[in-house]
């Protein structure tokens, strides 16, 4: 059980790998399918996991982007994500980690407050995305967005690096952080 490190393996040619971590298997599977259907010039590999650490026995390619999916309806998903975060190498948080919060649409079912996730993303200095993964269109749009994010993190877009993107995305988030 070793901590995941970015850049410890060489990248595959024209290949980008994303790791989706979350407790809701069905949602992750659906998101993975949407991502694979999305238009992309590079080869995409999507790995799904319930939690970190990942078993070392599997031979896997270099992971370019990790997305932690938190379901606002269940406290368990938040807990499992928080536990998994400890097994990640610090270098990952330079733009290769993103948080995705789903289920914000049905406010009555939400047991986790929106601010909790916002604070979590702020502590780890990573971008936070909101999406209702159960709705087809939103899922497709979010999949498209994640594909673009992944391409940049894998280094397929010349001139933009993951860190660059991180500071670009931070600009639009700042107004909401003042509420905290």
């Amino acid at each position: 059980m070793s901590a995941l490190r970015p850049l410890d393996k060489l990248p595959g040619l024209n290949t980008a790998t994303i790791l989706l971590v979350g407790t809701e298997d069905a949602l992750l599977q659906q998101l993975a399918d949407s991502m694979l259907k999305a238009d992309c010039t590079s080869e995409l590999k999507v790995h799904l996991a319930r939690s970190l650490p990942l078993p070392c026995s599997v031979n896997r390619p270099r992971i370019d982007l990790i997305v932690f999916v938190v379901n606002l309806h269940s406290k368990l998903s938040l807990q499992s994500v928080e536990e998994s975060l400890c097994h990640l190498d610090a270098a990952f948080f330079l733009g290769k980690v993103a948080f995705l919060a789903t289920g914000a649409g049905r406010d009555s079912h939400c047991s986790i407050h929106r601010n909790t996730v916002v604070k979590l993303a702020h502590t780890y200095r990573s971008p936070l995305l909101f999406c209702d993964l159960e709705i087809e269109d939103f899922r497709a749009a979010m999949a498209q967005r994640l594909v673009r994010l992944l391409q940049i993190c894998a280094g397929h877009v010349p001139g933009v690096s993951a860190l660059n993107l991180l500071s670009l995305m931070r600009g639009s988030e700042n107004p909401s952080l003042e509420d905290l």
């Binding site: 024209n14 080869e43 995409l44 280094g155």
Partner: protein, 244 residues
């Protein structure tokens, strides 16, 4: 303690129109040369970017990070400092790129102008149009400025008039108050009291005279109801003088 997490992997080959995956290009004879070139250029750009990333990581790792244990607030402050440095580096870079682009543009423009006949060039037409528009803009701005000045003058005058009317109203008010005070003081003055006293005395005397006349006529046992003039006199005597 730590649960072995399950992992699934899903893959998908690239699906852009004429381009195939790298393994397919090698074998496919049908792939057109342009597409192969595009693919190769794209892969080159990719590899360059990835190389840049690895290089920067190597450079970053050479820098020693302080290992001391800091308070969370200090860490936050440090992180913000570093983020600001990143932002500043980015802005500086963007500025330099902008300056460089401008210089390149101006040299290209210069070379273009040297080559081209000045009278007929589209560029000249554009420049003339730009100059005309600038003149119009300046004229409109001047007009706007003049109108604003006029507006300001009118407003000033209005304010002055308002202040003048305020003063006048204040004067009227003070005058009225003075009059009221005078009236009040007059009422309490001694002259009025004396006059009032005289008036009262006269009224009393007249009332007594009235009563005397009444009693005289009644005492004389004359039938005053028959004579209209006498009747009028008697009734008039009945008038209470204090009510006048």
């Amino acid at each position: 303690m730590e649960t072995q997490s399950e992992e699934q992997a899903v893959t998908k080959p690239a699906d852009s129109g004429g381009e195939g995956g790298p393994s397919q290009v090698a074998g496919a004879q049908a792939a057109r040369p342009e597409d192969r070139m595009t693919l190769l250029l794209r892969l080159r750009a990719q590899t360059k970017q990835q190389l840049l990333e690895y290089k920067s990581m190597v450079d970053a790792n050479e820098e020693k990070t302080p290992e001391q244990i800091m308070q969370e607030k200090q860490i936050e402050a440090k992180i913000e400092e570093l983020e600001n440095e990143v932002e500043e580096a980015k802005t500086a870079f963007e500025m330099k790129k902008l300056a460089l682009d401008r210089m390149q543009l101006s040299t290209a423009l210069k070379k273009h102008l040297e080559k081209v006949d000045i009278k007929t060039s589209v560029l000249m037409d554009n420049m003339k149009q730009i100059l005309n528009l600038n003149k119009l803009i300046m004229k409109s701005q001047q007009e706007t400025w003049d109108l604003e000045e006029k507006l300001l003058d009118v407003r000033k005058k209005r304010l002055q008039l308002k202040q003048a009317s305020e003063r006048k109203l204040l004067e009227i008010q003070t005058e009225k108050n003075k009059q009221k005070d005078d009236l009040d003081s007059m009422e309490n003055s001694d002259k009025i009291k004396a006059i009032q006293q005289n008036l009262e005395t006269e009224i009393q005397i007249t009332t007594v005279i009235q009563h005397v006349f009444q009693n005289l006529i009644l005492g004389s046992k004359v039938n005053w109801a028959e004579d209209p003039a006498l009747k009028e006199t008697v009734l008039q005597l009945e008038k209470n003088l204090t009510m006048i």
